[in-house]
Amino acid sequence: MFETMGEAIGEPGQASVSVVNRLEIVDVAKAYGSTRAVRDITVSFDSSQISAVVGGNGAGKSTLMKMIAGEVASDAGQLLLNGETLGTGDYTPAKAHAAGVRIVHQELSLFGSLSVAENFYIEQGSSGSAGFGWRKRARRTAEAALTEAFGASHGILGSAKVDALNAGQQQMVEIARAASSPGLRVLILDEPTSALGIEYIGTLAAFVRQLQHRGIVVLFITHKMSELPKLTDRIVVMREGNLVADMPTVDSTTDGLLSIMLGGEHGIAMRSAAASDQRQHHHAVDAAAKVLVSVTGQRSQLAGGIAVSAGEVIGLVGLQDAGQEQLLRAIQTRSDKNIVRAGTSAYITGDRKSEGIFPLWDSESNLVVSAVVNRSSWIPFRKARLHAIAETWFSRLNLSGVAAKKRIVDLSGGMQQKVLFARGLATDAELLLLNDPTRGVDLATKGDMYQLVRDAVAAGKGVLWYSSEDSELQQFDRVYVMHDNSAVAEFTGDDISTESIMKSAFASQDSRREEAVQPSTRQRVLASLSALSRQPWIFAFIGLAIVLGVIDSKQHILTYFFGLGLILTLAPVLALAATAQMFILSVGDIDLGIGAFMGLIGVIAATSLTTNPPLGAALIIGAILLYPLLAWFLRVRQFPALVATLAMSFVYAGLALTILPNVGGEVPTWLTSISHINTMILPLPVWILILVAAAGWFIVERTALGTRIRALGSNPSALESSGWNVTLVKVLAYALAGVTAAIAGLLFAGIATSGDAGAADGYTLMSIAAVVVGGCEFLGGKVSPLGVVLAATLLSLMGVMLGVLAVPPLFTAASMGVLLLLVMGLRRIVTQARKA
């Protein structure tokens, strides 16, 4: 039963000499409404043993761990670390961090658009130093931590963007990050091996053993019974919110644990379903059965390709992230011409949060949605019929009627998984595509799911199943071993075993390594071109070069210092406005009020700033402060930024019109004279553009604040959990935007020499266009300061270019529209080409 990958590492059960840290949980309880998730639990963990907390569906283990880590407030009881209270009621993740408590969740909380090193920096919380050279320090820390945890061959660079790593590498970073926090006392790992490559589980076991020897309290939550002896000294069993057993690992057996978890008789049925030694099906596949899907081409190195017929259960196995998930998705979405799918299919995923559930709906609706949309898009359906469908499945799944009406996000993970399972089955599709659906699910639910699969197969369906668990190998008739996005081996019946699979997976890896060749010059050039095309600002650059070229061909502008300066006069204004918009975008919001704000600043400049400079300055500062104030509101009240900034545009316009109802006023001479400064080598606007780009780049990419801002845009909840004050980061980002927008407004007023409340309105949509053309993305907080400035210059010159080309006036608006679409279309084509 307890098959290990080799020798047990470390010596389980051996107590270290002294206890350094001790976590005591005293009478802790938590209830959600009428559901008591944790009932008055008293237990303590210390660094003499590595402990695991196991339990079935709704046992309360996750809730308990979240309370220890400060993510959930307990209703009663105390948490003590080395005798000191960890705080109840106001115990936050930040405080947990400060106390040395860290939790690594199943759902990773990394910042995708940041580098590994930057992720480490953020994790350190406010204790992290941001002094000179912080980047280098962070990189060294990151690489050292990874090496310590996983050995020298982890192959992850500190400067690599987390997005570019695969799931296993990301989990390694996550674990190493948590384990390397200074002052770590308690480390909680929730299903740490779920995404980890099998080759690293041994290293992880050794690493946590080291941590334990160093005096750190290590807690696991795991469903993988087979890993318990490898990883743990002590097992604590929870059931329905209570602690029901506590034993040394050596004294436990899988059967014993199961019956404790399931409380007796119920366990017998589950056990026979889940933990059987025997192969589940022995039937020969009907040769005349319909081939539901066949995959050829690059995805298979096998002669026959990959094929699944009706009545078969086929497994996709191999090392982590070898392409199994991508294959399943490609089959479902029909996105690969090498995949021929001959019938209907349903996709059932274990990655509930990101590609499974519809969070605003109740679980009933989540269940029936696929079945309903398959019928007809346009004919109204009858609710009663759908209720009936849902009810059938709910009873088959042993889910209560109450759960049906609950929002799906309020259900436990296992129950959500069941709903997703039912969704796929309810479509009555011929082919079921399972993407590791039992990930992080308790044993009882797993048993239910295995039964569902068996029933489906008996009814004539075909199943293609990606599984990351050895124990599920018994479910398959055949397996394909995937490696590097391609099937490299196929095993049938009794040939299926963990050893045979690993051997073929590792063999491919080795052979690949030998083939590493020195890239030719042509390949090097292609590689650097490809890298260049990945830069977000490249399209703005190309576009700008073309526009300048066109203008130059008619007016020889590039050799005409005065002329170049003239046509670029307003470009810095748009560049500044777009940079301000970029700061807002980098925290995931958008600003529809920037034009009106610039108008307000201009109006103040044309009135008080001239007649009463101190008052004018105060008003401008006051106006700028509206930005961080807005940010605070957005955070506290969770307004959508789009609408709130639209509303603010009315407010700014109203204020501006109240100060200056009619166009006029007079901008102070020092401001108007700025645009007349004579410069050397390059015209003044070009110097300003360079300055803006450099400043923007430095702030966003090089300062600690900039990293935090990008982290906020990438993953706000993770930033919060790391102990940073997210509100503060957002407020600072908005403050930066406000200052930049104010400078834009002042510069514009200087050029216009007067105040006009509505004169800058066009800058709102133009700044958004500049930000998009410059390569920034709305989602995920990816920004490019250089791209923004290039795009702003490009857009400023579009009008001039159209004039130079003598485009008929009636076509000017259309030309702008067409040009915008062309630039974006070009970007898309190149992205597509790169993928192919």
């Binding site: 998705r329 995923t349 709906w361 609706s365 479509t427 955070r635 259309a814 992205t831």
Partner: protein, 337 residues
């Protein structure tokens, strides 16, 4: 009994409201229970405020504002559909589509009644076409909707200018103009049309497979793709429908104005967004509200009437509009944690 505040999006299979409770908390809970409650409450407040200072009686006041709101409502439904597909989708081409369609409608009608069916057909076709181009840019070219619809709007703007400078000012058909002034049992025909359109959209969104696909796509794009909801087609269709609804509003506007003029669509950019927002539809997607958009359109119209009646300066008018939207957001939003 749900454990968290009432969800914004009633699930398609949900039937009952949360149990009523007493006290102030129940008032705020009731206000949050449905997306449109804030807009309706605010509208009632404004009407009550206007009654004493208005020279007309309450019914006239209400009816004329509801009438004016019906144009915004119809175009607003289109905006609502687009916004509900999520990922920051928005349709900025609506004002230009409307102007273009009013021209198409009146030019085909040419002041007579015989071409009405053709004019309606052609106008809707033009609207659908603009929507299709929007959809293409967003779904195929992957241009963010804000930029894509802006660009398409620019193109439509040019077409309008060309059309109006060469063909110009035709009159609308008298029959449509009569319909603009007519009523059935005291309710203006155009209001009935708006309500009927709203009902059709409501059925579409809440009772058809397409509606499920729309709301699902807005909630989680990846889930939608893998669950067979075809989010790309949904987005495209949403833009097409928005274009068609803008065209419908344009047909009515043509009758109302008796002809086409270049500024006819201008106000519809802000007003459709504001109507959708005030009505409680989530701008993040996945939670449309038809009743809310109707109520939001009415609230907006009443707001303009209010500021006109009070004869406030333009600056104050702008301030009031901004503060109203912020307040509506404030009541409707849920507190963190």
């Amino acid at each position: 009994m749900t454990l968290s505040p009432a969800p914004q999006s009633p699930s398609p299979l949900a039937d009952d409201r949360p149990e009523p409770r007493r006290g102030l908390r129940s008032v705020t809970q009731a206000l949050r229970a449905r997306p449109w409650t804030v807009a309706v409450a605010a509208s009632i407040l404004i009407v009550l405020f206007l009654l004493p200072i208005s020279e007309r009686n309450g019914l006239d006041l209400l009816l004329s504002n509801i009438y004016l709101a019906s144009f915004v409502a119809i175009a607003g439904f289109g905006q609502m559909l687009v916004v509900s597909t999520g990922r920051g989708a928005i349709d900025l081409s609506i004002p230009f589509t409307i102007t273009l369609c009013v021209y198409v409608a009146t030019i085909v009608q040419d002041g007579g009644d015989q071409n009405i069916p053709a004019s309606i057909g052609l106008t809707i076709l033009v609207g659908l076409l603009v929507g299709a181009v929007n959809g293409f840019a967003v779904v195929v070219l992957r241009v963010p909707a804000m930029v894509a619809t802006l660009a398409v709007g620019f193109i439509a703007q040019s077409i309008v200018q060309i059309v109006s400078s060469t063909g110009g000012h035709a009159g609308s058909s008298p029959a449509v103009a009569v319909a603009a002034r007519g009523d059935v049992l005291g309710i203006p025909i155009f209001v009935i049309i708006a309500v009927v359109v709203g009902a059709v959209i409501a059925v579409l969104v809440f009772r058809t497979g397409f509606g499920l696909r729309l709301v699902g796509t807005g909630q989680n794009d990846s889930s939608a793709l893998l669950a067979g909801l075809r989010p790309g087609a949904v987005r495209w269709t949403a833009f097409i429908l928005s274009g068609g609804l803008a065209a419908t509003a344009a047909i009515l506007l043509g009758g109302y104005s008796g002809g086409a003029s270049l500024g006819v669509g201008e106000s519809f950019l802000i007003s459709t967004i504001a109507a959708v927002v005030l009505g409680g539809t989530l701008m993040s997607g996945g939670s449309p509200s038809v009743a809310g958009t109707l109520a939001g359109a009415l609230l907006l119209t009443l707001l303009v009437t209010l500021t006109n009646t009070l004869q406030v300066s333009t600056g104050t008018r702008s301030l009031i509009e901004g503060l109203v939207i912020l307040t509506a957001l404030g009541i409707g939003a849920q507190k963190r944690r």
